[in-house]
């Protein structure tokens, strides 16, 4: 929490953060759109799939984070687990 009386900063307002997020999303889509007119050289057949790198990045990260969330059920213990006895 911001202490009382402190000047509000740009990032303190959620709507500004949202604006940045949307700007960032537009930027991402613009870079992905390069795939429409730029033929990149590729070693593997996967790479020829349209937008492969963007899709792989987005899907990969969601899979990673959700899997890690699941991993918590298996490995998460209290902070003093090793010191508890």
């Amino acid at each position: 929490m911001k202490p009382e009386g402190e000047k509000e900063r740009f990032l303190d307002r959620q709507e500004n953060v949202d604006r940045l997020l949307w700007a960032f999303t537009v930027l991402g889509c613009a870079v992905l759109a390069v795939d429409f007119f730029f033929h990149r050289h590729a070693y593997l057949s996967w790479e020829h799939v349209w937008g492969f790198y963007g899709l792989f990045g987005a899907v990969g990260i969601v899979v990673l984070v959700q899997a890690a969330k699941g991993l918590r059920r298996l490995v998460m213990r209290d902070e003093d687990y090793y010191e508890s006895d």
């Binding site: 929490m1 991402g28 992905l32 990969g60 209290d78 090793y82």
Partner: protein, 569 residues
């Protein structure tokens, strides 16, 4: 021996002897001068073997100079300069003398190890690495740092013992103590690989690292992150390039820590998992064994020491100023520590391999080598791991400490010496990223033409980074992202920190029960025998009775009669 041919560790060890007697500016000056002078003395050194001495009939080479050892030589001088600059403010009550002395011995032994031309020299420095660095963990003074330091020491000393065992077998088989290319085959090479593997953080052997590094002092972790694992990377690149096993070991190292890094709360522990992930890229490169991939591995080691050092410094500065390092406790620090936040983001961009930052020009060499070698699956997994780096090191580290929700913590910017160290590291990250052909590429061991900045590479990397970042940000926005939690996450150290003590304790209990039972049984038997004997021998028992003589005579007569009877029959 001219002064430039003096093995670099001598300067560091000499300074380590002096440091405890020095104070203030003189000490600070020496701490900065030693790595500067040592680094300069390497310039213009011709390849060859220097500093050869004979001990007990063995000819030791204290300084073998070639492109591979020189690269790590420059790197360790640079890393120790930055680490000492970062730590130079330490006061007496923070254990300044102890930490500086340990730092000098540690950096010196890392240099001793990479310039060692034979197994005996290598072994000696391998052990001093462990013995000196553990004091950087213990200097924190907490109970946790004490216990994890002990575990750290045990594991690292075991690595040394394995190295010694492998070296003894090797010398017995080949008659040579020279530390050269080995390749896999034979018990000696496996022992030595295991020894290197412990120090490099191979899967399941990695836990000493994520256990101890986050428990060290704010400045000590910066030293730790630079030396031990990179000495191991050097040793692997020297002895086992092209060992195919290392490809898969490396890939595993890049992939498994990124899951832990997502859910870990201690941000320096996140960086420790991240270290294993980065070393995974190096180990993969060494395993692929082509000129490009080995170049990529050592170039990445060079860059990693700087950007991981920078990230560790930024988190060290946060810990130093706030006394906190958990994601749950931090946030909003960009308001108090804007420069540290900026430097941290430069480190984050570098480790994420954003174009124009150092990680981009080295990690891509390993990935390109995997593609050229037709290792499609290896490449795909490395790509997945690269996306993971963006999450934990690229976003999580700076985001949870400097941004996220405002924790309300208001503090001061890091001290000037810390800012200067971070600033130099940040400039180096960008300089190497923009001008690799004038910085890190000329230092590489093999002459290979590699152009990191072609359109395909830049575009695809930007697409990967942008969309993995967007994935994280949108998950955070929509609540899909797991919140930080105060917790311990079980890893393979559970086996020796939880299971083993209980198994040993359990076995002890069983032994005690069985032993107690047997003893009771025995005692009962003894008691019963004594009671029986008492009955038999008591004054009232049959044996103690007084018999009249006539009674005996009757029995003798009966026996004689019986004898006579049988005789005549």
């Amino acid at each position: 021996m001219s002064p430039t041919e003096l093995p670099p560790f001598v300067l560091f060890f000499g300074a380590a002897v002096l440091t405890p007697f020095l104070r203030g500016r003189v000490r600070g000056g020496i701490l900065l001068l030693v790595p500067l002078l040592g680094g300069l003395s390497l310039l213009g050194l011709e390849p060859g073997s220097y500093g050869q001495i004979t001990v007990m009939g063995y000819r030791l080479t204290l300084m073998r100079v070639d492109k591979l050892s020189l690269l790590f030589g420059y790197l360790f001088h640079l890393a120790s300069f930055l680490a000492f600059l970062f730590a130079i403010h330490l006061k007496k009550e923070e254990g300044a003398s102890l930490q500086h002395t340990a730092g000098l011995l540690y950096a010196g032994s890392a240099l001793g190890a990479v310039f060692a031309g034979d197994f005996i020299t290598l072994f000696v420095f391998w052990e001093i690495l462990a013995l000196s660095s553990v004091f950087l963990v213990w200097a924190r003074g907490s109970r946790r740092s004490l216990t994890s330091g002990i575990r750290y020491l045990v594991v690292n000393v075991v690595s040394g013992v394995l190295l010694l065992a492998g070296a003894v077998v090797h010398v017995h088989q080949t008659g040579s103590i020279a530390f050269e290319y080995m390749g896999l085959g034979g018990i000696a090479s496996w022992l030595i690989l295991l020894s290197f593997g412990i120090k490099a953080g191979f899967p399941l052997l990695h836990n000493w690292l994520v256990d101890a590094y986050p428990e060290a002092t704010p400045t000590g972790t910066v030293f730790l992150s630079a030396f031990t694992t990179k000495v191991a990377v050097y040793a692997l690149a020297r002895a086992f390039p092209g060992a195919e096993l290392l490809v898969w070991v490396g890939v595993t190292m890049t992939v498994f820590p990124i899951f832990y890094a997502v859910i870990e709360n201690d941000l320096r522990r996140v960086l420790s998992y991240s270290m294993i992930n980065q070393i995974g890229f190096m180990v993969t490169g060494i395993g692929l064994g082509t000129a490009l991939s080995v170049n990529g591995a050592v170039a990445h080691a060079f860059n990693d020491v700087i950007f991981k050092g920078l990230l560790m410094m930024s988190m060290g500065a946060v810990l130093y100023r706030t006394g906190k390092i958990n994601g749950t406790d931090l946030g909003g620090l960009y308001k108090s520590m804007p420069l540290t936040a900026t430097f941290s983001m430069v480190g984050a961009a570098s480790i994420s391999a954003l174009p124009l930052f150092s990680g981009f020009v080295s990690k891509s060499m390993v990935m390109a080598a995997a593609l050229e070698g037709g290792h499609g699956w290896v490449w795909l997994l490395l790509l997945f791991a690269s996306a993971g780096v963006v999450e934990h090191a690229g976003i999580k580290i700076p985001f949870f400490s400097f941004f996220a929700h405002d924790s309300g913590i208001r503090t001061r910017e890091a001290p000037p010496n810390m800012l200067l160290a971070m600033g130099i590291a940040a400039v180096l990250c960008i300089a190497i990223g923009v001008f690799p052909q004038w910085t890190v590429y000329p230092l590489l061991p093999y002459a290979v033409e590699y152009v990191p900045y072609d359109t395909t590479h830049v575009v695809t990397q930007l697409q990967l980074l942008l969309f993995s970042s967007l994935g994280v940000f949108w998950m955070m926005r929509t609540g899909w992202y797991p919140p930080e939690k105060r917790s311990v996450n079980l890893d393979s150290d559970w086996v020796y920190r939880w299971l083993a003590p209980r198994v040993v304790g359990g076995v002890g209990t069983v032994v005690a029960v069985v032993d107690g039972g047997l003893r009771r049984l025995f005692l009962r038997g003894v008691g019963a025998s004594l009671r029986r004997a008492g009955r038999v021998l008591s004054p009232t028992s049959g044996l103690s009775r007084h018999y009249p003589t006539g009674f005996m005579v009757i029995w003798v007569t009966i026996l004689l009669g019986a004898y006579l009877l049988f005789y005549f029959l």
